[in-house]
């Protein structure tokens, strides 16, 4: 599904990722952990198409050169990034936004666009499953949302858009236990043989709820260690200091 080889990225002459390699197969859940400044968010940004980085190396998504695909097409082709800091957009109604987004993606996939009634039914069902209050959907997009509401809104978008590759960029940061559970349930409910996840996190805590297939430790822009979900527990105990780059 995703094949990253020798990816290097820099911003303002500062090297962030150095010869980064990662392969994700359909159905796999990968977690990337690492200290502050190790390049976790840069990776998420590059995969979703944010500008401003000098990028070298190769990223293939479903056999196509991802770095050449425009931002919106990446989303249409099934990549979803749950933002670390979802942007507040005044005046834009959350429901309208989500409907436009879903229909653009459905159109791209050759599916029938949903009318307002069908859409509302879908949203009602999905938000109920996630225990998200529907009223936040009639508000302006992320405006005045609490940290938890913003992240839940990201998860709701994820479940509605049904992507193939989900990148969660520190979605668990700043969440209380209840919100963390909602986020995890959202992810777990979407796990399937054709869908892959790349979960970027600081803390082991999220992995109490989501059991990844692989845990990678990112240090200085490179994967320093890869292991099973047990690795996360070791890290929680010993910290990142014991993991050094080769």
């Amino acid at each position: 599904m995703l094949n990253i080889s020798n990816l290097s990225a820099s911003i303002d002459d500062k090297n962030i990722l150095r010869n980064f390699n990662l392969k994700i197969k359909p159905g796999e859940v990968h977690t990337i952990m690492g200290p502050n400044g190790s390049g976790k968010s840069t990776l998420a940004n590059i995969l979703s198409g944010r500008k401003g980085y000098k990028v070298e190396g190769q990223v293939f998504y479903e056999g196509k050169n991802l770095l050449e695909i425009p931002i919106e097409e990446r989303a249409q082709k099934g990549i979803f990034l749950a933002f670390q800091y979802p942007t507040e957009i005044p005046g834009v109604n959350t429901n309208n936004f989500l409907k436009t987004s879903l229909n653009t993606i459905r159109k791209f996939r050759g599916l029938k666009e949903l009318d307002s009634l069908e859409f509302l039914k879908l949203v009602k069902e999905k938000s109920k499953n996630l225990k998200i209050e529907e009223k936040i959907l009639s508000r302006q997009l992320n405006v005045g949302f609490s940290g938890g509401e913003k992240k839940k809104n990201e998860i709701l978008q994820m479940t509605i858009l049904e992507p193939k590759l989900v990148i969660l960029d520190e979605t668990d940061s700043g969440l209380d236990i209840d919100a963390l559970r909602i986020v995890s349930e959202g992810v777990n409910s979407l796990r399937s043989a054709n869908r892959s996840f790349l979960i970027i996190t600081h803390y082991q805590r999220l992995l109490d709820y989501i059991k990844p297939d692989f845990v990678h430790v990112l240090v200085n822009g490179k994967i320093a260690k890869t292991g099973s979900s047990n690795l996360a527990q070791e890290l929680e105990k010993d910290g990142y200091e014991n993991v050094t780059t080769e």
Binding site: F83, G91, F97, T104
Partner: protein, 427 residues
């Protein structure tokens, strides 16, 4: 420029007093000419240059017999009363939804032809430093006089249609509209401008509104899809005790418009709310100037103006709040926000507070900026194209002002027109 005033005079059979007033005012206009940017209030709209550059030979509109308007232009799926002006001429009125004993409607022309009736509005032909007002006094040929009795609430809104047809090409058309609401009366008024063809004309309209005690006048100015026209529109409002004046302005259409609103809060607990949206492209040039005069204590006013500028367009908002020394406990608020989306577009913002009382709450703010890149990225990362993302953000930005509309039917109408327009512009 030669407006051929003498010819106009001859074709009118005015009685002596009116004729004298016209001559006096025309002389005044001739001395001053069209306003230029050297005048403080016209700093951002150099009307003289604009007229000279865009009109080969501006002429006074001559009456055309048997004017007929296109009924297809009337607003559909919207129950309303109507007054129809075509090229500034009063064509017909329809108040079928209302109690006709409570509403009196006349054409200004009929009043200008009757010496006794004219006496009643003569004071409105007073001197003004503004040469366009003098020009209007000199050349006005028709308009509307609407009087609403005490204690009458309109059942449906009134739409004043301002239609223009091909006979208006290269013409200047001058109107006056008088609306007086009696005590405890209530009217929603839509001032609707529409021209079927791309005709170039200059319309100069002066509105005079009187809102008596406890009365409410809600006005919605809609300039949706005219493209070659030029407008000057001046509104003077007298607000009495506990009255409300609301004005929403949808400024999308004409080539040029200068909209002035002077609201005088003359008695306690009167209020004035002016909100509006400008979405300009091409060479459009729109200016809104509001002047709220707090002349008495305990009055309230606010303005929210949101503007988006594309291509080579030019937008201006000049908002003044004046607080007289006797106007204690005034509550005044003003906010202007603009997005400039092209290198060649321009927005001028000039907030002014002039406060002589010491116990007031007045604030104002003005921002001019661009679309936030993070917002575009967020929407695009959800599959929206750049164009879709831009439109959604711009629509959301302007929507904040549209959401202030308190009449649901009219809000729907304005939202529709606004959406039609936003789908047409290239963002």
């Amino acid at each position: 420029m030669n407006l051929k005033f003498e010819e106009f005079q001859k074709s009118n059979s005015d009685f002596k007093e009116l004729n004298k007033l016209r001559v006096k005012n025309f002389k005044k206009f001739e001395t001053l000419g069209f306003p230029t940017k050297k005048q403080e209030h016209w700093k951002y709209t150099d009307l003289k240059t604009i007229i000279n550059n865009n009109f080969e030979e501006l002429q006074i509109y001559k009456d055309v017999k048997k004017l007929k308007f296109n009924t297809k232009l009337l607003i559909k799926n919207f129950e309303h009363n109507s007054v129809i002006l075509l090229n500034g001429n009063f064509i017909e009125s329809n108040f079928n939804f209302e109690d006709k004993k409570k509403v009196s409607i006349k054409s200004l022309r009929s009043v200008l032809e009757n010496k006794n009736d004219f006496e009643k509005i003569k004071t409105y032909f007073d001197d003004d430093q503004n040469s366009l007002i003098s020009l209007n006094h000199a050349l006005v040929n028709d308009g509307v006089i609407l009087q609403v009795e005490d204690d009458y609430t309109f059942i449906k809104p009134l739409v004043i249609y301002n239609f223009f047809d091909e006979t208006a090409e290269e013409k200047i058309i001058n109107n006056k509209v008088f609306i007086s609401l009696g005590n405890n009366s209530n009217l929603s008024l839509v001032d609707f401008y529409k021209c079927e063809n791309s005709i170039k004309y200059f319309n100069n309209t002066i509105n005079n509104y009187t809102i008596k005690k406890n009365a409410i006048l809600k006005k919605f100015t809609i300039n949706a899809d005219l493209d070659k026209s030029y407008y000057y529109n001046s509104t003077k409002v007298k607000s009495y005790s506990n009255s409300v004046f609301e004005n929403f302005i949808l400024s999308l259409g004409p080539n040029l418009i200068k909209n002035e609103i002077h609201c005088n809060l003359l008695e306690d607990f009167s209020s004035c709310f002016i909100n509006g949206v400008m979405l300009l492209n091409g060479d459009q040039h729109h200016e809104l100037k509001t002047n709220v005069n707090h002349k008495y204590e305990n009055c309230k006013s606010s303005q929210l103006i949101k503007s988006v500028l594309l291509d080579k367009s030019n937008g201006t908002y000049q908002g003044k709040i004046y607080v007289d020394k006797s106007a204690q406990k005034t509550n005044g608020y003003q906010l202007s926000k603009a997005l400039i989306l092209s290198e060649k577009s321009e927005f001028n913002s000039k907030p002014e507070l002039e406060i002589y009382a010491d116990d007031v709450k007045c604030s104002h703010g003005s921002t001019i900026g661009n679309i936030d890149e993070n917002s575009i990225f967020y929407l695009m990362s959800r599959g929206l194209t750049k164009d879709q993302a831009n439109k959604m953000i711009v629509e959301g930005f302007l929507n904040e002002a549209i959401q202030t509309i308190t009449e649901p039917d009219i809000k729907l109408l304005i939202s529709q027109l606004f959406r039609e327009r936003i789908n047409k512009v290239n963002l």
